[in-house]
Symmetry: none
Subunit: 505 residues, 2 copies
């Protein structure tokens, strides 16, 4: 099938022409290449170039294929298309919960696609799929490009998906050029990164890094709200049974020891407004901010809304409202974030004051110590708020905290950051700017990603590209085809640069 | 069966003795009577006294039987016993949803009991049960004592139940004394007062008053959360099918025209703390406060909790939190109440800022105009809060209101209020207080009751007795046997006084 596609589109003459251009960088304006459809080309393996033999200029000239990337990305979004927000064929969000039937379909496509690129595909016990394009040397671990194909229930087409698709595009681009690497280059699809169905995000890279026990992950139950979605079963399922049900419970132990990596690179939309606001094209991600997830429960007293004066209430929901307002004040004053995503009030009757409220609290900050300070202050303030509500009747509310997840600040690896920085500068050189370097910046990730866990075991870094209005976890999440391609070009170069770094003498 | 019970317990000699005492009020210390078990007595109808022939002192001496009332009340709570909160045999709440099997059982008992008291029993199309003890005159409508036998899913033993049982106790007390009335005296059990299973409270008195169409009530579906309770069926049922299933779909049209009343009296626990706090025994209810129920929806924008600065958010839940805090401030400043019982945040994910929040708002106040003022102010303030959240990104939140229910202030009938006031003062005279009158107060009902609807068609008023900590809609809801008996004595006297008022020349 692979050779058929080639023969339909390209001619050996064209391929030779472009290969020549690549070897003669002065002839090869990257601007022309980015807009020239003839850049889709292929050479046979016998004619292969080797990554370590390229000149610096040749590496800097490497580009992903914008149109093909966009086509592949939206093709893959047919499985799990979500809420429509515009009239265009791709103007829908995504609803592809981890291990749903739609997730199975896109996984099947991922395997078919990477196998067609001569990749060796393995699936581990967490359903992580590793597709490796072999390098010249078989005694070394591959460098991976990784992210996730699952989405939020009301997610978009780029968060995670762009990362995996840029990996596939990198392999296709390398194939186009007949580019061989010393070590292999892999693409990994991590399972349930979002944590939207099974409520621990990045759980499967966490198991791979041996930071989360396999048994805990296998026994993790889907959240009840998700169970009622049409894409999930009606009764809460464990990850293990969900993996079995879609036939993605692999036999390879989920561990960095069994599936080693030389490095992990991840391309992602920024999910924030900084790049867009500054008109910048690439964020060189140097770190991930610290975050802590809590579940809190406020216990007050159910009582009648019509007959109970305010001073006779221990209204757990009123206490919650004050806490949420306070959380923003405190977090803000320390340059941190504090957010509530889930709230549940019981018993849930119009004319009964809620006696029990549960909610999640997500505290984030650029330094572990700042998160500590915010948590400490909020524990004190929440206790004070609870103590006041119900005090006149001698039945004050009380609040209990449970820590669900603690992710300290992650600093990415300097070698990976260097590769991304050089690649970013090379790619943005295409622009008309008189100071192209100003189109890149170093940036800290606000969100967690699978790279947080890979960084515990192997050199890792990330690349951010702008997204419209900084919006994500929303159907209208959007990254232009140009920005997607810029990111894919950067990750393509970064992987090649890392390979050269490893094996150049 | 009725005569058997009499012969087992009482002797004619005793009955005559007590009757003599009643006619000679100076001999009849009400204190003695309240604690003297011999007060359980009976006379034959031939020896009957007539209500209109009693002296004022004789009326004031009428008392319910405390022990029998307590026994009957807890006996009736065997059907639908709920959550246990103590070790005593009656230390459980109630879970007797309208038209459940448990409700059928207690209805059967109600009919058997009132028939044994020589009542004529009719059942209407809403399953309302009317048991009438005939008076001397058959050409006039009876005076009714009414309330409800259904409960909240986590309710207690007094809300509604005490009202119906006090009616039965009044009939028994009248029988004890051979007391005949001019007009008949009835007891009515209204169907689904709570609105907990079928989500319109007081629906069946509403149909009786022709304020709610029969068809709407018959087609009303049980709420899904209740459908999953063991006492209800697994698939949502309509009121009509639920009535049929337990064989309580009566043939009598549900209307005040078909089942006329001369007046309606209702005894209820206060469901608030005022009586208990003030050490008072009886509340003479003069009115029911106005209330309005709304559903509100705040629309903001879903976004990532980790990557979105506060100033880039349109956080619908944060807007909600500010609104709830503000609602209490505004309501409080106008002597009103504002409560949120239900809140739902979507999409409901730890790391997604909620873009949509729906909640209920219950505003109550002593005057319609005050509720108007609070609503108007909150509409303005909520708009302002919504407009600020998301303003920096040009996507402010917006808030929409839907009115679900509007119940203006109800003023009870002065004739009924007078009867209750006089009766209350007579009954509390038993106390040791040097100023017994201070043990009663006029009070406004915070909650809705079936009396709200009966008051649209016939003279109505209510009696409140204290409940522990003002707590209701809770398994630990509690009213002492003494307080129950006080209330039952007041309603017994009130009915007799009303009968006398109607027929004394």
């Amino acid at each position: 099938m692979r050779s058929m596609i080639r023969s339909q589109v390209y001619t050996p003459t064209l391929a030779r022409l472009v290969r020549f251009a690549l070897i003669q960088p002065t002839l090869l304006s990257s601007r022309i290449i980015r807009t020239n459809p003839r850049r889709h080309f292929s050479v046979s393996r016998k004619q292969a170039m080797l990554s370590t033999e390229l000149t610096e200029a040749q590496v800097s000239a490497l580009r992903a294929n914008k149109d093909r990337l966009a086509r592949d990305l939206h093709h893959s979004c047919q499985w799990g298309s979500g809420i429509r927000w515009g009239d265009g064929p791709t103007d829908t969000g995504m609803q592809r919960l981890a291990l749903s039937q739609e997730d199975k379909q896109v996984r099947d496509w991922f395997i078919e696609t990477t196998k067609a690129l001569n990749c060796r595909v393995t699936i581990d016990e967490m359903g992580n799929i590793f597709a490796v394009r072999p390098g010249r040397r078989t005694d070394v671990p591959p460098v991976f490009i990784g992210s996730h194909l699952d989405t939020q229930p009301t997610g978009g087409r780029y968060d995670g998906i762009l990362g995996v698709l840029s990996g596939i595009e990198a392999l296709k681009s390398m194939d186009d050029m007949g580019l061989e690497t010393e070590g292999g280059v892999g693409v990994v699809n991590w399972t349930n990164e979002e944590g939207a169905r099974f409520p621990i995000s990045m759980i499967s890279s966490g198991v791979w890094a041996e930071c989360i026990p396999l048994s805990q992950a296998h026994e993790l139950k889907e959240v009840p709200t998700v169970a009622s979605l049409p894409t999930a079963s009606s009764a809460p399922e464990t990850m293990r049974s969900a993996l079995e049900k879609i036939d993605y419970l692999g036999s390879v132990p989920c561990s960095y020891k069994q599936t080693p990596m030389a490095a992990h690179f991840e391309l992602h939309i920024e999910q924030g407004p900084h790049l867009e606001t500054a008109g910048q094209h690439v964020g060189v991600v140097t770190a991930v901010q610290a975050y802590r997830w809590f579940r809190l429960t406020i216990v007050g007293r159910d009582t009648h809304t019509g007959t109970t004066a305010f001073e006779h209430r221990a209204d757990a929901l009123y206490a919650f409202a004050q806490m949420m307002v306070r959380a923003r004040e405190v977090a803000s004053s320390h340059g941190c974030l504090a957010s509530v995503g889930i709230v549940e009030a019981k018993p849930g009757s119009v004319n009964t004051v809620p006696g029990v409220v549960s909610f999640t609290l997500d505290i984030r900050g650029p330094e572990d110590e700042l998160v500590n300070v915010v948590e400490k202050q909020l524990r004190k303030d929440f206790d004070a708020i609870a103590a006041e509500e119900g005090k006149p009747i001698g039945k004050p509310c009380r609040v209990e905290w449970t820590l669900d997840f603690d992710s300290p600040v992650v600093k990415f690896h300097p070698d990976c950051i260097d590769c991304v920085q050089q690649s970013a500068e090379a790619v943005v050189a295409d622009s008309d700017s008189t100071d192209p370097k100003s189109l890149t910046r170093t940036i800290m990730s606000g969100a967690g990603h699978d790279s947080v866990f890979t960084s515990k075991r192997v050199p890792t870094s990330m690349i951010f590209v702008p997204c419209k209005d900084g919006l994500s976890h929303h159907p209208e999440e959007f990254c232009s085809a140009d920005d997607c391609a810029t990111g894919a070009s950067v990750i393509l170069q970064a992987v090649i640069r890392y390979d050269r770094k490893r094996f150049s003498s």
